[in-house]
């Protein structure tokens, strides 16, 4: 009945080039940052210069007098149109412009509107604000002591059940404390043959999407249209509707291609301020940031992780205690979810009977932190896999063998009690070991150049429970349009989704079109985040296509076609309507089962619909005279179920690993008194061509996710997990230095090499 040019099973599993490829190589792909509307004003932001303070005055008169300035806006103006201008996914704590107080250096305090962005920028520089400075807190451990309070009172959003009890709480910087208690960890420690305890830290880094944040709002009495570089248009619609007190159908979010997202372009970023400004001036307003301003918008959580492990005589881990402190910055963003969702895997991908986890989300006076490609997992893995290697060394066990002895296997309970299913964790570890020829001796190098190798493994649960909805619309000529809210920010989701539609409806994937994201047309999706889309939206798209297929079959029966007929779809419509007319629309909704963790124990029989598994290996060469580390080989093996598009999966693996390589080796936001001092790509280096290891190997192990669409599950984050500890472990293997803090730059390595010698390095300036 459908055009049977392709065999069933021919669309998923093929390395179809990205369906938007021609648009991108001809320079025609549209991004919010380069878009303009007729009559549009540009907004430039004036930002706080102090980390914590009461606003005494804001003098906007010089800015207002500059020729070409349309208007200067402060929170006083915002509150006239939006009385409670606070937003956020977990806490309604972030004001559109600072109200009464500023909470970090770089917080937006005022906005200048002008038709010429250069005028707006020059005028913003003329604004003068005076503050009564307050004590500030920057370190997460200090913040946990509550001596300096970032916020007077906590304002949970009410969306998440486990945050409701924090409403109105005073005297604390803790935005969530997640607990997991399994077995008796103290007893395990007292009966263990050896107990190890270490503290690990990670630094503040940045998404640095090459398309900086941008939103354009066009407010009318009838509704507001927002064009935005957003990974989550459905959330933006809900939150803007809440701020305006409007029904969602008066808020329209359109999302063109994204020039990178990586978790940064989630929730509300510039959408609220663009909307408020457009409300005030009744013209379209564009807010487009510079690269520098991205450093003041959203970042990755720095963390401190105290980990303690008991091991018995046979090398089995019997107990593990984890205390994780997440430095969330001045506004919670999605930090409390990172704290819980990553928190419950803090004990690692190991089979441990006695586990204690405390995971704390903390406010500090730093730029906010949110999701960054891994939702906290890379910070945890850095700690628990360095810890694993250090223990193996002290126990004189091979690091591979020690991991095999303790690894979580299929059918065994994870720390929450959820039985691990479809985890090809050991298979991934085996592939890394085979690629590194782990059972053969490594050439160790000579003179000052020392070589070493390291391994790491990790597991992540997908964020749950979340919902995706999709529509498949078949036109009367048989051509197909898919509407789904997953935002293609480079991960290739549009291509994968068309492959699923093509598979169900037996048409070439490249013949399926995907509508641009537009909440007036595109159904609900929780967000393009946490490697959830291929699984959740993939199911929704499959269900939508299957419903369309059933409706096509019904149409065929109705017009008298025999079962299994090969009549073209266009003939069915023509027979039914007498001309090329009509549509068939299939809808699919997917929400997996989930049981929330017990608040006291963190236990749940169903923590996640799937687990992402990763293993990595690294070979490094350390110059012991300079501390410089060269990564010679970087091997990443993931379990992503069945790759629906093997080529795109491979690029997701290598791309994620190389991004994490930057976070591992050199990226670090330098902060002095709350002020970021390297907020530019001149001073904050991200990986370039010359940083790519010569031996860069990526692999997806043979796997099938039994509850996944065509056996697939997510992969966008997976290859970030293990890179840092694999390299850290390789450095220790090469030259014996025990690094516990990222990044692993030459200074850190040389300091460690020289400490305890007669030539220690002086203190850092």
């Amino acid at each position: 009945m459908t055009e049977a040019r392709h065999e069933v099973g021919s669309q998923v599993g093929r390395s179809l080039p990205r369906i938007e490829a021609r648009t991108k190589v001809t320079g025609r792909a549209e991004y919010t940052h380069t878009m303009q509307l007729a009559g549009m004003l540009h907004a430039k932001l004036f930002r706080s210069t102090v980390a914590h303070g009461r606003i005494k005055s804001i003098d906007t008169s010089a800015a207002q007098r500059m020729p070409g300035v349309h208007r200067v806006i402060t929170s006083r103006d915002i509150r006239r149109v939006i009385p409670e201008p606070y937003y956020g996914p977990a806490f309604h704590d972030q004001p559109i412009l600072a109200i009464d107080k500023v909470h970090y250096v770089g917080e937006p305090v005022a906005a200048v509107l002008a038709a010429d962005p250069h005028v707006a920028e020059a005028a913003a520089a003329l604004i003068v604000a005076e503050y009564d400075e307050l004590p500030a807190v920057f370190d997460e451990i200090e913040a946990a002591k509550n001596k300096v309070l970032v916020h007077d009172e906590l304002r949970p959003a009410g969306t998440f059940a486990d945050l409701k009890h924090l409403k109105g709480r005073k005297g604390t910087n803790t935005a969530l404390d997640f607990k997991l208690r399994r077995g008796d960890v103290e007893h395990a420690f007292t009966t263990a043959a050896r107990v190890f305890e270490h503290t690990f830290r990670t630094q503040k880094v940045l998404h640095a999407a090459l398309e900086p944040f941008a939103s354009i709002a066009d407010y009318r009495d009838s509704g507001v249209t927002i064009i935005s570089a957003s990974q989550g248009p459905s959330f933006v619609r809900t939150e803007i509707a809440r701020l305006l007190g409007w029904p969602e159908n008066r808020v329209r979010i359109k999302v063109p291609y994204l020039g990178g997202g990586f978790g940064g372009k989630l929730y509300i970023k510039l959408e609220a301020i663009a909307t408020a400004l457009s409300m005030i001036v009744r013209r379209p307003v564009k807010v487009a940031l510079t690269m520098e301003e991205q450093f003041y918008t959203i970042t990755k959580h720095p963390s401190t992780f105290r980990i303690k492990t008991g091991v018995d005589k046979s090398g089995r881990i019997t107990g593990r205690k984890c205390e994780v402190y997440w430095n969330g910055g001045a506004y919670a963003d999605i930090g409390p979810r990172v704290t819980q969702k990553s928190g419950f895997t803090a004990s690692g991908p190991y089979d441990i009977d006695n586990v204690w986890i405390d995971s704390y989300a903390l406010y500090t006076n730093l730029p906010p932190a949110g999701a960054l490609r891994g939702f906290g997992i890379p910070q945890l893995v850095w700690a628990y896999e360095r810890h694993t290697d250090i223990m193996a060394r002290e126990l004189r066990l091979d690091p591979l063998e020690f991991r095999r002895r303790n690894i979580l296997r299929e059918g065994r309970p994870q720390a929450t009690g959820t039985i691990a299913r479809d985890i090809k964790l050991e298979a991934a570890l085996d592939r890394v070991a085979a690629r590194l020829r782990w059972n053969e001796a490594l050439e160790r190098g000579a003179g000052p150049l020392r070589r070493g190798r390291g391994l790491a493994i990790a597991m992540k649960a997908v964020i749950s429970p979340t919902t995706s909805v999709a529509n498949v619309n078949i036109a009367a000529d048989g051509s197909i349009i898919l509407s789904c809210g997953t935002v293609d920010m480079g991960q290739g989701s549009d291509t994968a989704m068309t492959q699923i539609v093509g598979e169900v409806l037996n048409v070439p994937a490249e013949s399926v079109r995907v509508t641009p994201r537009d909440t007036d047309i595109t159904p609900y999706d929780m967000g393009t985040l946490g490697s959830r889309s291929l699984f959740h939206m993939g199911h929704a798209v499959r269900l939508a296509a299957e419903e369309a297929r059933e409706k096509l079959k019904a149409l065929a029966r109705e017009v008298g076609e025999p079962e299994g007929s090969n009549a073209p779809i266009s003939d069915l419509f023509r027979k039914k309507y007498g001309m090329q007319a009509g549509n068939i629309i299939g809808t699919g909704t997917y929400k997996p089962d989930y049981v929330p963790p017990d608040p006291a124990s963190g236990a749940t029989p169903n923590a996640t619909p799937f687990w992402m598994c990763a293993a990595a290996g690294a070979e490094v060469e350390v110059d012991t005279e300079t501390g410089a580390v060269r990564v010679i080989r970087l091997v990443n093996v993931v379990d992503c179920g069945r790759p629906l598009n093997p080529k795109i999966v491979e690029t997701q693996i290598s791309g994620a690993a190389l991004m994490q390589l930057g976070f591992t080796m050199f990226e670090k936001m330098q902060i002095d008194g709350g002020q970021v001092t390297n907020a530019s790509l001149a001073d904050y280096k991200i990986p370039g061509m010359l940083d790519v290891p010569r031996g860069m190997e990526s692999e997806a192990v043979a796997a099938h996710q039994s509850n996944g669409p065509y056996g697939a599950k997510g992969v966008g984050e997976t290859a970030t997990f293990c890179v840092s500890p694999a390299i850290g472990n390789a450095i220790e293997d090469a030259c014996g230095v025990r690094l516990t803090e990222l990044p692993l730059n030459a200074e850190a390595v040389l300091r460690a090499l020289r400490s305890g010698t007669d030539q220690p390095l002086g203190d850092a300036p």
Binding site: R18, V25, T26, G27, H33, L210, G259, M291, L681, L690
Partner: protein, 162 residues
């Protein structure tokens, strides 16, 4: 601020633009000619997203004052394809999967084209060094290296005697 009129050749067509002397080339291309292939990202000439060819040489369009292109030949990524026919470098980038989000891709395409004009058969080191001034946060670097090699073969094939 002072306004002036500049005249230049844009992708083979003579054009004029009314500009302020402080306007950079990228904003003029976007605002006056609706060409958005050259994009500002870092704003400092560190990333290559804004790459434009001026008189045949790649420049950082976000730092290059539009006033300087008065009388010059300007080429952007939009000129690489000939109608529906992609250039060998564009084809090779698609075949190799050499981009993800695509924001940096125009800069890489122009630099890879310039590289192959200068060196039709570059090895890995030559490719890495020539393209080290372009950044890709999606880190499609291994695929980009591969794409340049594929493009080199395509261009040789196209110019080989029949």
């Amino acid at each position: 601020m002072s306004r002036r009129t500049i005249a230049f050749e844009l992708n083979g067509e003579p054009v004029t633009a009314e500009i302020e002397t402080h306007h950079n080339l990228v904003e003029v291309l976007q605002r006056d000619f609706n060409l958005t292939g050259a994009r500002e990202s870092c704003g400092q000439g560190m990333c290559g997203c804004c790459t434009v060819l001026v008189n045949g040489t790649a420049v950082s369009g976000c730092l290059y004052l539009a006033a300087f292109v008065d009388g010059a030949q300007v080429r952007t990524v939009e000129s690489l394809a000939d109608g529906d026919t992609l250039s060998p470098v564009q084809e090779a980038f698609i075949e190799a999967g050499a981009f993800q989000c695509g924001y940096c891709t125009p800069g890489f395409l122009l630099m890879a084209t310039q590289l192959l004009d200068e060196n039709p058969d570059p090895d890995d080191d030559a490719i890495r060094h020539y393209l080290s001034g372009n950044l890709c946060r999606c880190a499609a670097y291994p695929e980009i290296i591969n794409a340049v090699k594929i493009a080199a073969r395509k261009r040789k094939g196209a110019t080989a005697p029949a």
